[in-house]
Amino acid sequence: MKKTKNPHLPLRVFLSLRERIEVRALSLLGPTIATIYVCLLWGCETSNYAPSVTPQMARSTSSELPKLERGRTLFVHRCIECHTLPTIWRYSREDWPEIVNNMSHRASLKPAECDAVIAYILAVRATER
């Protein structure tokens, strides 16, 4: 017996294929957005807000390297708990010690930690620009 061809079959196959593609596309949308977002973030360099410690910094300010490293670590961890990190150039060399001392209580910085943060900031200012 000859089979009769269903005239709607190609349309149904097409629709079902389209639906599958739409569902697939929707399910991929979330991870795709997340991936693009992470890539964009990854590509944005912000370490210039807290430059790495160099031997030159230690030499130019007579500070020890470990103290400057500790100061940088505290600077990038404690300060961002309340606000975004300002560029070190935003305030003058004379202003920074007072700013850090004023915020030390909120950032739970002990006196030695405060000194380390100030030493790091002044070392960055002494060696750049």
């Binding site: 979330g30 997340a34 912000t46 370490s47 990038v76 961002i80 309340c82 606000h83």
Partner: protein, 208 residues
């Protein structure tokens, strides 16, 4: 210390209101590790039939920072929270990504929640969430931002009902001295029954 107050209104299928309260004490154990205790989570609920205050649970939260959002390409943290109450236990795990770009802070949270509740903790539900937020620091005291929340709800740990919720809304934060206040308004962009159509969250924090 942070005090959370969240007012939520559900209008589908019937109108009801609920105000949730959380009282959190957070400790910086190290620069990379923070621990918190939520001494009491409780709520006030009101609908057409009754209104009441209910204690919900007490919780512990642990956060470990893997990388830093300033010196590393992306700041990543892992978050674990345990909540326990009367006939209630919840496990919540999060991966938090954050990037600070000058005055901008961008954040992405992926959350997995599992809840056991009821008689013999036999009722189960889980939830997968992704949240995206951007905030701009207008001044050292004030920030404004936008939040987007996408939820996948799995009643009885199954996805038969295919419940998906999307919430979106603005937030504003004001800080002065050792205290801060943050307000976030979220409206449901989907139309899921028994889910909050609107919620307003306020966090008042003070540092010691």
């Amino acid at each position: 210390m942070e005090n959370w107050l969240t007012w939520g209104r559900t209008t589908n299928p019937a109108r009801s209101d609920q105000i949730d309260f959380r009282h959190e004490f957070e400790f910086g154990v190290t620069d990379k590790f923070q621990a918190s205790i939520y001494v009491a989570d409780w709520f006030y609920s009101r609908d057409s039939q009754r209104d009441r205050f209910t204690y919900s649970d007490t919780a512990v939260e642990l956060i470990y920072n893997l990388t830093n959002p300033i010196v590393d390409p992306v700041g990543l943290s892992v978050y674990q929270e345990y909540r326990a109450g009367r006939r209630f236990f919840e496990w919540e795990s999060k991966l938090i990504a954050q990037k600070n770009l000058g005055r901008w802070i961008l954040a992405y949270n992926a959350t997995l929640e599992a809840v056991w509740q009821g008689e013999g903790l036999s009722e189960r539900e889980s939830e997968l969430q992704q949240a995206l937020g951007a905030s701009y620091e207008i001044s050292p005291r004030c920030s404004v931002g936008l939040e987007f929340l996408h939820e996948f709800i799995f009643p009885d740990w199954h996805d038969n009902e295919r419940i998906r919720n999307v919430f979106v809304g603005p937030n504003v934060s004001y800080r002065r001295g050792s205290w801060f206040v943050t307000m976030t308004a979220l409206a449901q962009a989907t139309d899921t029954p028994d889910e909050r159509g609107f919620q307003l969250r306020t966090i008042f924090g003070i540092g010691f």
